[in-house]
Structure formats: C-alpha cells, structure tokens
Symmetry: C2
Subunit: 141 residues, 2 copies
DNA sequence: TATAAATTGTAGTATGGGCTACACTTTGAC
DNA sequence: GTCAAAGTGTAGCCCATACTACAATTTATA
C-alpha cells in the first residue's frame, strides 16, 4: 500500500479509499497463500476461501486479480503460486502484522483483541509509523 | 464497527470487509459534517466533497446513504444536517480519532504521519483496544 | 431584473467484493 | 474402469464507491 498510482494514469478512477481497500485484500491473499504454500505445500482456492470466510467463487475472482497484478500465477485445477513480487509482498505483510500485534500487546491490549484488530489496522500503517513501532519495541526491550 | 447485522437479515450479502468499509465511510462523513456544522454553520455537498477529495456526485450519493441510515437529514439545495444519532456517531468518532492520534504520537510517530495513519486505523480499533489506549495514555501522563 | 457563475442533483458507467447456481475436472472409492 | 464426491471454474446478480457528463436550481453580479 506504499504507493498510489501516478496522477495521470488510471488514478482518476481509484479513490484513496477504494485503492486502500482493494490493496488490503490483495495483501491478505498474498500472506495467506504464502502461509498455505509453506505449511501445506500448495494453496487451493477452496482452502483460501475457507480460511478467509468467503465463497470459493469470490476467492477465485480475487486470485484472478492477483494474477493481473503480477503477484501470483495459477493454472486451472493446479493451485495458486506466488511470483517473486508476490512473495516479497507476503513477507512485508507478515513482518508488519507481527509488529502491529506486538505493539498493541505492549500497549496492554489482550492478545485476542490485538490479533483481531491488527488484521484491520495493519493495512493502514505507513512506513514511517512502522519504523516508529519497531523503535518503540526495541527501546522497551 | 461495533456490531454486525443479525445473521438472518440482510447480513448474508454483507461480507465483513464490505461492512467495515462502508461503515468507515459513514463515520468519516458524520465526523466531517459535524465539523463543518460547528465551524461554518452549514455543511454543503461541495464542501464535503472537497474536504474528502471526491467528486461532488460521490458526496451526494453518500449523503443519501447517511439519510437512509438515519444519520443525517438533507433537503435539496439546503445543506446537510445530522440527526441525534448522527451527532452521537460523530462524537464517538472524534474521541476515538483523538485517542488513536495521541497513542501514535506517544509511540514516537511524527504528528503528520500520525494524523494520516489514524484516518485509516481508527475504523478498525475495537472498544477493548480503545480502552487499553486510554489506559496507556493515562499511565504515561 | 436579467443573466452568468456556482452549486446541487441526476444518469450512466466502471471496478471491486460478495453471493448463488450451475457446469466441468480431478480424485478417490468401489 | 466406473462413477460419485470433492474441488474448481463460469455466469449472472446485488450493492457500494467512484467517476464523468449533463440538467436543474440558487446565488451573485452586471
């Protein structure tokens, strides 16, 4: 979610909100797919749908978007894989998620709520804020 | 944010994501309208659109949604007003926004980034987390 | 008071997330 | 090897956000 499309391009039809929102979904998918690939060796639409609580049709459509965005590859009936770019995104997302949860917990938020809220919060944390979070945790030991 | 629609009703066609997203937009509008009413005495679609960086057509459509949700009233060419419910929402949102910004700043996030990020983060902060934030700030003086 | 400028409203279109229903592969059990 | 179950894909629909383009009203100015 670091950079918005350039002014002149298709930005016009991409309000900040919509952009942030649709980016958040892609981030969630990338992270989950990386997780499934690591733990199960494969990422299938049905598993993804189940984990995200959406219908498999919705998952498949979003996977198509991941492909269009150059984040994933997939061939019919053969599961989903991440491109290098997709893996990089998943890694960034995972690190950020951990950081947000840790900060919330450090602030006294119960683990369960911290995990739940981080899910929504993480997509809106800028690089600057992320750095501050890391620094805060480091100082705090 | 606080509560999702009941299972049996129209919930079915209101994914978690969509619900959170559309609620966030209504919250932003309510807050902004309250702000405009307080500072300028009136809240006009064009002002709202300008402040939110969307077209006036988009603002007008969302204002219609606010009306449907019982949060605002508006008559053609006569500006927008908040209902009691709308004011209550705006108040809650304002308090929450302040709290989130203050916590970010306390964590060492520069003011500008804190304000910007809070805009996105605040809609995902649960009551539990909010309480923890307040407590944290109190202890910290 | 006319008339131009600004504001407001409406229509039509695109994208995105979500769903159900139905069709088509693969897989697995006999 | 057949056939049913599971998984996968497609089509069609809804609603929300957003936009541009055009129409209508209000306001401000000549």
């Amino acid at each position: 979610m670091e950079k918005l499309p350039a002014e002149g391009t298709q930005a016009r039809r991409f309000g900040k909100t919509r952009f942030a929102q649709s980016t958040a979904v892609l981030e969630d998918y990338a992270e989950l797919i990386a997780d499934l690939l690591a733990s199960a060796g494969e990422a299938r639409p049905t598993d993804i749908a189940r984990r995200l609580g959406v219908s498999h049709a919705t998952a498949i459509k979003t996977i198509a978007r991941l492909k269009r965005a150059g984040l994933a590859t997939a061939r019919p009936y053969r599961g989903v894989f991440l491109t290098e770019k997709g893996h990089a995104l998943a890694d960034r997302v995972r690190v950020r998620h951990r950081l947000v949860v840790d900060v919330l917990r450090a602030l006294g938020v119960p683990s369960e709520a911290a995990e739940a809220d981080a899910e929504g919060i993480e997509h809106h944390v800028s690089e600057i804020t992320l750095k501050a979070f890391a620094q805060f945790l480091k100082l705090r030991g």
